[in-house]
Protein backbone atom coordinates (compact mmCIF):
# COMPACT_ATOMS: atom_id res chain seq x y z
CA UNK A 1 0.00 0.00 0.00
CA UNK A 2 2.76 2.41 1.03
CA UNK A 3 4.81 1.45 -1.99
CA UNK A 4 1.88 2.04 -4.32
CA UNK A 5 1.26 5.49 -2.90
CA UNK A 6 4.96 6.29 -3.15
CA UNK A 7 5.12 5.20 -6.79
CA UNK A 8 2.02 7.21 -7.58
CA UNK A 9 3.46 10.36 -6.00
CA UNK A 10 6.78 9.88 -7.82
CA UNK A 11 5.04 9.55 -11.18
CA UNK A 12 2.95 12.67 -10.50
CA UNK A 13 6.14 14.60 -9.67
CA UNK A 14 7.77 13.39 -12.88
CA UNK A 15 4.70 14.51 -14.84
CA UNK A 16 5.10 18.08 -13.62
CA UNK A 17 7.45 20.32 -15.63
CA UNK A 18 10.98 19.86 -14.25
CA UNK A 19 12.72 22.85 -12.66
CA UNK A 20 15.98 24.15 -14.12
CA UNK A 21 18.08 22.80 -11.23
CA UNK A 22 17.01 19.26 -12.11
CA UNK A 23 17.18 19.49 -15.90
CA UNK A 24 20.40 21.54 -16.16
CA UNK A 25 22.66 19.20 -14.13
CA UNK A 26 21.18 16.16 -15.92
CA UNK A 27 22.08 17.71 -19.29
CA UNK A 28 25.54 18.56 -17.96
CA UNK A 29 26.03 14.90 -17.02
CA UNK A 30 25.45 13.82 -20.63
CA UNK A 31 28.88 15.31 -21.45
CA UNK A 32 30.96 12.93 -19.26
CA UNK A 33 28.52 10.09 -19.89
CA UNK A 34 29.07 10.13 -23.68
CA UNK A 35 32.83 10.52 -23.19
CA UNK A 36 33.00 7.53 -20.87
CA UNK A 37 30.71 5.16 -22.78
CA UNK A 38 32.49 5.71 -26.08
CA UNK A 39 34.81 8.75 -26.34
CA UNK A 40 32.05 10.78 -27.98
CA UNK A 41 31.75 14.55 -27.69
CA UNK A 42 28.21 15.73 -27.03
CA UNK A 43 26.84 17.67 -29.99
CA UNK A 44 23.74 17.55 -32.13
CA UNK A 45 24.17 19.80 -35.16
CA UNK A 46 26.80 17.49 -36.67
CA UNK A 47 23.98 15.03 -37.34
CA UNK A 48 22.69 17.42 -40.03
CA UNK A 49 26.08 17.26 -41.72
CA UNK A 50 26.14 13.47 -41.56
CA UNK A 51 22.73 13.38 -43.26
CA UNK A 52 24.17 15.51 -46.07
CA UNK A 53 27.27 13.29 -46.28
CA UNK A 54 25.12 10.16 -46.39
CA UNK A 55 22.38 11.28 -48.78
CA UNK A 56 23.46 14.31 -50.83
CA UNK A 57 27.30 14.61 -50.72
CA UNK A 58 27.28 15.95 -54.33
CA UNK A 59 31.10 15.75 -54.59
CA UNK A 60 31.43 18.62 -52.07
CA UNK A 61 34.74 18.12 -50.18
CA UNK A 62 33.08 19.09 -46.89
CA UNK A 63 30.83 16.02 -47.17
CA UNK A 64 33.52 13.54 -48.30
CA UNK A 65 34.28 11.54 -45.20
CA UNK A 66 33.36 8.26 -43.62
CA UNK A 67 30.04 9.34 -42.10
CA UNK A 68 29.41 5.77 -40.91
CA UNK A 69 32.03 6.34 -38.23
CA UNK A 70 29.74 9.07 -36.89
CA UNK A 71 26.59 6.95 -37.15
CA UNK A 72 26.31 7.06 -33.36
CA UNK A 73 25.31 10.73 -33.72
CA UNK A 74 22.39 9.80 -35.98
CA UNK A 75 21.33 7.06 -33.56
CA UNK A 76 21.53 9.61 -30.75
CA UNK A 77 19.25 12.12 -32.48
CA UNK A 78 16.81 9.34 -33.35
CA UNK A 79 16.78 8.67 -29.61
CA UNK A 80 16.03 12.35 -28.94
CA UNK A 81 13.04 12.04 -31.29
CA UNK A 82 11.82 8.92 -29.42
CA UNK A 83 12.45 10.64 -26.08
CA UNK A 84 10.20 13.50 -27.15
CA UNK A 85 7.44 11.03 -27.95
CA UNK A 86 7.86 9.14 -24.65
CA UNK A 87 7.89 12.30 -22.55
CA UNK A 88 4.79 13.82 -24.07
CA UNK A 89 2.72 10.62 -24.16
CA UNK A 90 3.72 8.87 -20.93
CA UNK A 91 5.36 11.38 -18.62
CA UNK A 92 3.29 14.49 -19.08
CA UNK A 93 0.20 15.96 -17.45
CA UNK A 94 -0.43 17.90 -20.68
CA UNK A 95 -0.97 21.21 -18.91
CA UNK A 96 -0.32 24.39 -20.87
CA UNK A 97 3.14 25.89 -20.47
CA UNK A 98 3.19 28.68 -17.87
CA UNK A 99 5.07 31.74 -19.09
CA UNK A 100 5.59 35.34 -18.06
CA UNK A 101 2.27 37.29 -18.35
CA UNK A 102 4.11 40.06 -20.21
CA UNK A 103 4.99 37.59 -22.95
CA UNK A 104 1.37 36.40 -23.11
CA UNK A 105 0.17 39.99 -23.55
CA UNK A 106 2.67 40.61 -26.31
CA UNK A 107 1.94 37.37 -28.16
CA UNK A 108 -1.82 37.91 -27.88
CA UNK A 109 -1.44 41.00 -30.08
CA UNK A 110 -0.17 38.64 -32.81
CA UNK A 111 -3.03 36.20 -32.29
CA UNK A 112 -0.96 33.64 -30.38
CA UNK A 113 -3.12 32.34 -27.54
CA UNK A 114 -2.70 28.55 -27.61
CA UNK A 115 -0.12 27.37 -25.06
CA UNK A 116 -1.06 23.70 -25.09
CA UNK A 117 1.77 22.62 -27.36
CA UNK A 118 5.50 23.19 -27.20
CA UNK A 119 5.29 25.11 -30.45
CA UNK A 120 2.76 27.92 -31.09
CA UNK A 121 0.24 26.00 -33.21
CA UNK A 122 -1.57 29.27 -33.99
CA UNK A 123 1.26 30.24 -36.35
CA UNK A 124 3.31 27.07 -36.91
CA UNK A 125 1.10 24.57 -38.70
CA UNK A 126 0.79 22.95 -42.13
CA UNK A 127 -1.68 25.58 -43.42
CA UNK A 128 0.49 28.53 -42.40
CA UNK A 129 3.49 26.97 -44.15
CA UNK A 130 2.11 28.40 -47.39
CA UNK A 131 1.82 31.93 -46.02
CA UNK A 132 4.73 34.40 -45.97
CA UNK A 133 4.84 34.35 -42.17
CA UNK A 134 4.88 30.58 -41.92
CA UNK A 135 7.41 30.23 -44.70
CA UNK A 136 9.78 32.74 -43.09
CA UNK A 137 9.45 31.12 -39.67
CA UNK A 138 9.76 27.48 -40.61
CA UNK A 139 11.71 27.35 -43.88
CA UNK A 140 13.95 30.39 -43.45
CA UNK A 141 14.32 29.86 -39.71
CA UNK A 142 15.30 26.24 -40.23
CA UNK A 143 17.73 27.18 -42.99
CA UNK A 144 19.57 29.58 -40.69
CA UNK A 145 19.77 26.95 -37.96
CA UNK A 146 21.50 24.54 -40.34
CA UNK A 147 23.68 27.13 -42.06
CA UNK A 148 24.61 29.02 -38.90
CA UNK A 149 25.43 26.03 -36.71
CA UNK A 150 27.76 24.51 -39.28
CA UNK A 151 29.38 27.87 -40.03
CA UNK A 152 29.90 28.35 -36.28
CA UNK A 153 31.07 24.75 -35.90
CA UNK A 154 28.46 23.72 -33.37
CA UNK A 155 25.15 24.54 -31.73
CA UNK A 156 23.90 25.00 -28.21
CA UNK A 157 24.97 21.48 -27.25
CA UNK A 158 28.31 21.40 -29.09
CA UNK A 159 29.52 24.89 -28.19
CA UNK A 160 27.53 26.14 -25.20
CA UNK A 161 27.58 22.85 -23.30
CA UNK A 162 30.39 20.59 -24.62
CA UNK A 163 32.73 23.39 -25.65
CA UNK A 164 32.35 25.44 -22.47
CA UNK A 165 32.68 22.29 -20.36
CA UNK A 166 36.18 21.77 -21.71
CA UNK A 167 36.88 25.52 -21.32
CA UNK A 168 37.33 26.31 -25.00
CA UNK A 169 37.22 30.05 -25.52
CA UNK A 170 36.12 29.86 -29.19
CA UNK A 171 32.99 28.16 -27.84
CA UNK A 172 32.42 31.11 -25.52
CA UNK A 173 32.65 33.47 -28.51
CA UNK A 174 30.15 31.30 -30.39
CA UNK A 175 27.77 31.11 -27.41
CA UNK A 176 27.84 34.90 -26.96
CA UNK A 177 27.07 35.31 -30.68
CA UNK A 178 24.18 32.78 -30.46
CA UNK A 179 22.67 34.83 -27.65
CA UNK A 180 23.33 38.17 -29.34
CA UNK A 181 21.75 36.97 -32.59
CA UNK A 182 18.80 35.65 -30.62
CA UNK A 183 18.31 38.87 -28.65
CA UNK A 184 18.35 41.02 -31.79
CA UNK A 185 16.02 38.65 -33.63
CA UNK A 186 13.48 38.07 -30.86
CA UNK A 187 13.16 41.76 -30.02
CA UNK A 188 13.58 43.49 -33.37
CA UNK A 189 13.05 41.06 -36.26
CA UNK A 190 10.52 38.53 -34.97
CA UNK A 191 7.88 41.22 -34.15
CA UNK A 192 8.02 42.30 -37.82
CA UNK A 193 7.55 38.70 -39.01
CA UNK A 194 4.71 38.07 -36.54
CA UNK A 195 2.96 41.26 -37.74
CA UNK A 196 2.78 39.97 -41.33
Amino acid sequence: MFEKTFNFIMLEIIKEPWPWFVAGPLIGLIVPFLLIIGNKTFGISSSLRHVCAAIIPSKIPFFQYNWKKEAWNLVFVFGVFLGGAVAVNLLSNNNAVVVNPKLMDELATYGITNYNNLIPVDILNWQSLFTIKGFLMMVMGGFFIGFGTRYAGGCTSGHAISGLSSLQWPSLVATICFMLGGFITANLILPLILSL
Partner: protein, 165 residues
Amino acid sequence: MQNIETNSDFEVRSLDTMCVNESKINHKWYHQIKYLITGVLFGIILVKAEIISWFRIQEMFRLQSFHMYGVIGSAVVVGIISVFIIKKFNIKTIDGEQIVFNPKSFNKGQIFGGLLFGLGWAITGACPGPIFAQIGTGASVVVVTLLSAIAGTWTYGYFRDKLPH
Protein backbone atom coordinates in the same frame (compact mmCIF):
# COMPACT_ATOMS: atom_id res chain seq x y z
CA MET B 1 49.42 4.06 -45.57
CA GLN B 2 46.25 2.97 -43.86
CA ASN B 3 47.04 5.31 -40.99
CA ILE B 4 47.52 8.34 -43.21
CA GLU B 5 44.16 7.72 -44.88
CA THR B 6 42.38 7.44 -41.56
CA ASN B 7 43.97 10.66 -40.40
CA SER B 8 42.94 12.65 -43.44
CA ASP B 9 39.41 11.34 -43.02
CA PHE B 10 39.47 12.64 -39.46
CA GLU B 11 40.66 16.01 -40.75
CA VAL B 12 37.65 16.29 -43.01
CA ARG B 13 35.22 14.97 -40.42
CA SER B 14 36.45 17.41 -37.80
CA LEU B 15 36.22 20.50 -40.06
CA ASP B 16 33.90 23.00 -38.42
CA THR B 17 32.47 20.30 -36.24
CA MET B 18 32.30 20.06 -32.50
CA CYS B 19 31.40 16.46 -32.02
CA VAL B 20 33.68 13.93 -33.63
CA ASN B 21 33.98 10.28 -32.81
CA GLU B 22 37.37 9.97 -31.14
CA SER B 23 37.17 6.25 -30.58
CA LYS B 24 39.60 4.12 -32.58
CA ILE B 25 37.64 0.95 -31.89
CA ASN B 26 35.27 -0.45 -34.47
CA HIS B 27 32.27 -1.64 -32.56
CA LYS B 28 29.49 -3.96 -33.64
CA TRP B 29 26.16 -2.31 -34.48
CA TYR B 30 24.51 -3.19 -31.17
CA HIS B 31 26.91 -0.87 -29.36
CA GLN B 32 24.82 1.94 -30.86
CA ILE B 33 22.03 1.02 -28.43
CA LYS B 34 23.78 2.94 -25.65
CA TYR B 35 23.63 6.11 -27.74
CA LEU B 36 19.99 5.46 -28.53
CA ILE B 37 19.20 5.22 -24.82
CA THR B 38 21.23 8.36 -24.01
CA GLY B 39 19.37 10.16 -26.78
CA VAL B 40 16.00 9.05 -25.40
CA LEU B 41 16.96 10.36 -21.95
CA PHE B 42 18.11 13.67 -23.44
CA GLY B 43 14.86 13.96 -25.40
CA ILE B 44 12.82 13.34 -22.23
CA ILE B 45 14.76 16.06 -20.35
CA LEU B 46 14.30 18.52 -23.23
CA VAL B 47 10.53 18.05 -23.16
CA LYS B 48 10.07 17.80 -19.39
CA ALA B 49 12.05 20.98 -18.68
CA GLU B 50 10.23 22.79 -21.53
CA ILE B 51 13.58 23.63 -23.11
CA ILE B 52 12.08 22.84 -26.50
CA SER B 53 9.17 25.19 -25.93
CA TRP B 54 9.06 28.07 -28.40
CA PHE B 55 7.53 30.16 -25.61
CA ARG B 56 10.40 29.46 -23.20
CA ILE B 57 12.90 30.57 -25.85
CA GLN B 58 10.97 33.81 -26.37
CA GLU B 59 11.01 34.42 -22.61
CA MET B 60 14.76 33.84 -22.53
CA PHE B 61 15.47 36.37 -25.29
CA ARG B 62 13.24 38.95 -23.61
CA LEU B 63 14.87 38.40 -20.19
CA GLN B 64 11.44 37.51 -18.79
CA SER B 65 12.42 34.29 -17.09
CA PHE B 66 15.47 32.76 -15.41
CA HIS B 67 14.50 29.22 -16.41
CA MET B 68 16.63 28.77 -19.58
CA TYR B 69 19.61 30.57 -18.07
CA GLY B 70 19.38 28.26 -15.06
CA VAL B 71 19.24 25.17 -17.29
CA ILE B 72 22.18 26.16 -19.52
CA GLY B 73 24.20 27.64 -16.66
CA SER B 74 23.88 24.65 -14.35
CA ALA B 75 24.52 22.25 -17.26
CA VAL B 76 27.77 24.08 -18.02
CA VAL B 77 28.85 24.06 -14.35
CA VAL B 78 28.21 20.30 -14.07
CA GLY B 79 29.97 19.79 -17.44
CA ILE B 80 33.05 21.76 -16.36
CA ILE B 81 33.31 19.85 -13.08
CA SER B 82 32.88 16.50 -14.89
CA VAL B 83 35.53 17.26 -17.50
CA PHE B 84 37.88 18.50 -14.76
CA ILE B 85 37.43 15.20 -12.87
CA ILE B 86 37.99 13.15 -16.05
CA LYS B 87 41.23 15.01 -16.78
CA LYS B 88 42.44 15.12 -13.18
CA PHE B 89 42.00 11.41 -12.51
CA ASN B 90 42.73 10.39 -16.10
CA ILE B 91 39.46 8.48 -16.31
CA LYS B 92 39.26 6.09 -19.27
CA THR B 93 36.29 5.01 -21.37
CA ILE B 94 34.52 1.75 -20.51
CA ASP B 95 36.65 0.13 -23.24
CA GLY B 96 39.83 1.43 -21.57
CA GLU B 97 40.56 4.11 -24.16
CA GLN B 98 42.11 7.45 -23.34
CA ILE B 99 39.44 10.18 -23.44
CA VAL B 100 40.34 12.76 -26.09
CA PHE B 101 39.54 16.47 -26.04
CA ASN B 102 40.06 18.28 -29.30
CA PRO B 103 40.94 21.94 -28.80
CA LYS B 104 38.95 24.10 -31.19
CA SER B 105 40.72 26.89 -32.99
CA PHE B 106 39.05 30.25 -33.34
CA ASN B 107 37.78 31.42 -36.71
CA LYS B 108 35.39 34.16 -37.79
CA GLY B 109 32.76 31.53 -38.51
CA GLN B 110 32.02 31.33 -34.81
CA ILE B 111 30.95 34.99 -34.97
CA PHE B 112 29.09 35.10 -38.32
CA GLY B 113 27.67 31.60 -38.02
CA GLY B 114 26.84 32.19 -34.37
CA LEU B 115 24.80 35.29 -35.17
CA LEU B 116 22.97 33.53 -38.01
CA PHE B 117 22.18 30.53 -35.81
CA GLY B 118 20.89 32.93 -33.13
CA LEU B 119 18.52 34.33 -35.74
CA GLY B 120 17.19 30.87 -36.60
CA TRP B 121 16.99 29.87 -32.94
CA ALA B 122 14.89 32.87 -31.94
CA ILE B 123 12.50 32.51 -34.90
CA THR B 124 11.88 28.77 -34.74
CA GLY B 125 12.32 28.47 -30.98
CA ALA B 126 14.51 25.44 -31.59
CA CYS B 127 18.13 24.49 -31.90
CA PRO B 128 19.07 21.22 -33.63
CA GLY B 129 18.40 18.94 -30.62
CA PRO B 130 14.97 20.36 -29.87
CA ILE B 131 13.97 20.02 -33.54
CA PHE B 132 14.13 16.24 -33.20
CA ALA B 133 12.35 16.27 -29.84
CA GLN B 134 9.62 18.61 -31.13
CA ILE B 135 8.89 16.23 -34.00
CA GLY B 136 8.72 13.43 -31.42
CA THR B 137 6.06 15.32 -29.46
CA GLY B 138 3.88 15.17 -32.56
CA ALA B 139 4.58 18.60 -34.05
CA SER B 140 4.79 17.12 -37.55
CA VAL B 141 5.25 20.46 -39.30
CA VAL B 142 8.68 20.79 -37.65
CA VAL B 143 9.84 18.21 -40.21
CA VAL B 144 9.88 21.17 -42.60
CA THR B 145 12.22 23.06 -40.24
CA LEU B 146 14.46 19.98 -40.06
CA LEU B 147 14.63 19.60 -43.85
CA SER B 148 15.39 23.33 -44.15
CA ALA B 149 18.16 22.97 -41.57
CA ILE B 150 19.66 20.09 -43.58
CA ALA B 151 19.43 22.28 -46.69
CA GLY B 152 21.17 25.09 -44.76
CA THR B 153 23.99 22.77 -43.73
CA TRP B 154 24.37 21.58 -47.32
CA THR B 155 24.44 25.17 -48.58
CA TYR B 156 27.18 25.97 -46.07
CA GLY B 157 29.20 23.01 -47.34
CA TYR B 158 28.71 24.16 -50.93
CA PHE B 159 29.89 27.74 -50.31
CA ARG B 160 32.38 26.94 -47.55
CA ASP B 161 35.48 27.98 -49.53
CA LYS B 162 34.00 31.35 -50.42
CA LEU B 163 32.89 32.31 -46.90
CA PRO B 164 35.15 34.29 -44.55
CA HIS B 165 36.64 32.06 -41.84
